[in-house]
Amino acid sequence: MSESPAPVHGYIDVVFSDRPQQVVSINELPFLIGRGRESGNHLAIDDLRISRKCAAISAGPSGICIEDRGQLNGIFVNGKPTSAGILADGDRIRLGIDDGCQLVFRMQSEAQTQEEVVTKLRSLLGSLGGDSADDLKALRLLLEATSLLHSQLPLESVLAAMLDHAIVITHADRGMLLEPDASGVLQVRVARGRDGESFAPETMNPSRSVLGQAMELESAVINEDLRLADRNLQSAYSVVVQLLRSAAVIPLYGAPRGQASSPMEAPRRQLLGALYLDSRRTTTFSALDRQILDALGAQAASILDNARLLERERERQRLEQELSIARQIQQALVPQGLQDYPHLAVTGIHRPCHEVGGDYFDVFTLPDGRIAIMISDVAGKGLGAALLTTMLQGALSGMTLGVEPVKVFYHLNSFLCDRAAVGRYATMFFGLLDQDGGLEFVRASHPSPLLLRRGEVSELYSGGSFPIGLVEQASFKAERIQLEPGDTLLLYTDGVTEAEDRDRNLFGAGRLKEAVSRHKDSSLAELQAGILSAVERFAEGASQSDDITLLVVRYQRPEDGTARTETQSPGGMQLPV
């Protein structure tokens, strides 16, 4: 506030159409408004239609000004388009769009602020019918409770503090906060005594009948003397057992969310819980003002409501973090910066449609000098499929210890069939290329790699084969072909051929072959890029519904001095933005 001409207390009411209003203090000038916090915004609005740098409030020579910093469709002050202008208390600011949130600018000088608080206090005290020290104390506590809303304390402490305040304000013996459990029954979550002690929630036995009455009336209920109350309450077991004399129950409702189904019908309020206060003295709550109870209820509801939002947000963040760890691990497991081998040039790409994917490829050298090239596609998508790719990769890396590929396929198949609850299986192509161009391969229902030889495109094989982990009686066999120097093999997953356009037509093997043959003289990187762009052009912006993975290898005889050395683009995973 140092730049502002006079000490002012400015804040902004952020009015949403679908959730409670927020109040944001202007503690620093210029005060930046926009989407997200990354651009240094003081008021971050979570709405994709709001520009990252939307508007700024700053101190001008003649007062506090607002300035458009690049909001699409401009900003409006009291309905008028404004690129820059002075703000007055109560001005309504709209940011580009009609149905987003509305900002209301509030400004008071410090002196005015204090004066107003005193006036408000006096008028409130007046309405309470006296100016006793007790009432003043009650109000102070209420204000303190309000400030708890913005505190960073753990939720349990906030709830306990709120109960402590409620106990002091109402002179109750005990205070409890109840929340509905999964079946909707109110259960004690926090319980406190008048000396600030905590009680174990499960030992509490609030009067269910008084609670029920408050829920039914949807309003605060005070029972001055439970013994004299109506017969239903009088006979209530818990009241008799505990010899309670009086209780106050305030149901807590969240702000209505969403639209009412019809204009005649008010949106249903969501029950968040209840505040339950009781005392062994009959007249404890008799002098209690209705306004204080309502204010307490509103505060408690607001604290609970915010706490729930916060909990959900934390849970969402935690899941997001876990997923990002999974993604990092998957990224780290695929070959990074694919290198060329003396007799093999390599490039590859894995583009999962979710954060993590069920496709994977690998290239590694065996002790005998042969190079393993493999590609696999696990059924399903996302984290479930990604977990299995990791296990497959681990198992196949065992081949560097000299195990036959076919044996590994059989082993993996029975391993997965024995654990049917895993619920996943995989298609796979595994090849071993020796220095002389001999390619031994095992396939498991994976689409045949395409062979590009002297401009002609063909398939290595046709006909079916069993996938890994679907059928226990599956059999696998090793096959063999001879590659010629300059031969290129394209390994791919069905995310390529099953890429769909907007009318759900498939890209198909035919278009893939065409794309490959168009690049018969290209480098591997160009070939790969050409295929990807052919798929993208075909999809015309339709969203990618499966992982897309390509692995391109070109055999070159090591002693052949004329064999071109490929300059490689970095391989590895490419992840969606």
């Binding site: 596609d377 049917a420 996943r424 689409p447 079916g464 996938p467 679907l470 059928v471 009686q473 599956a474």
Partner: protein, 111 residues
Amino acid sequence: MTISTESMEGGITRVLLDGRLDIQGAAAIDLRMNVLAGSSKFLLIDLRNVSFLGSMGLRSIVIPAQAVRRRGGKVALFGPVPIVEEVLNASNIHEVIPIFHDLDAAVVALC
């Protein structure tokens, strides 16, 4: 994706699948298929109205079929359209579960 069943002569349960057997389709029929696998001896899976068979969809057919076979029952697939049959053949499923385009032949094979 919808699934319905009808009883045929000879204690055969005919399962009629209708729609796309993609990830969502598979999720929609999995439970019913598992229940059927546990209660049927002869299962005729009618695929005529399945327009797409994805990898998870394939699993939704094969796993229950294998369960029936393990209990000594029989399973036949009936009437897949060409792109669905292609998927079945690419996975060698026809070597484990017979595929028929003639209903009578399928019934004879099951009894």
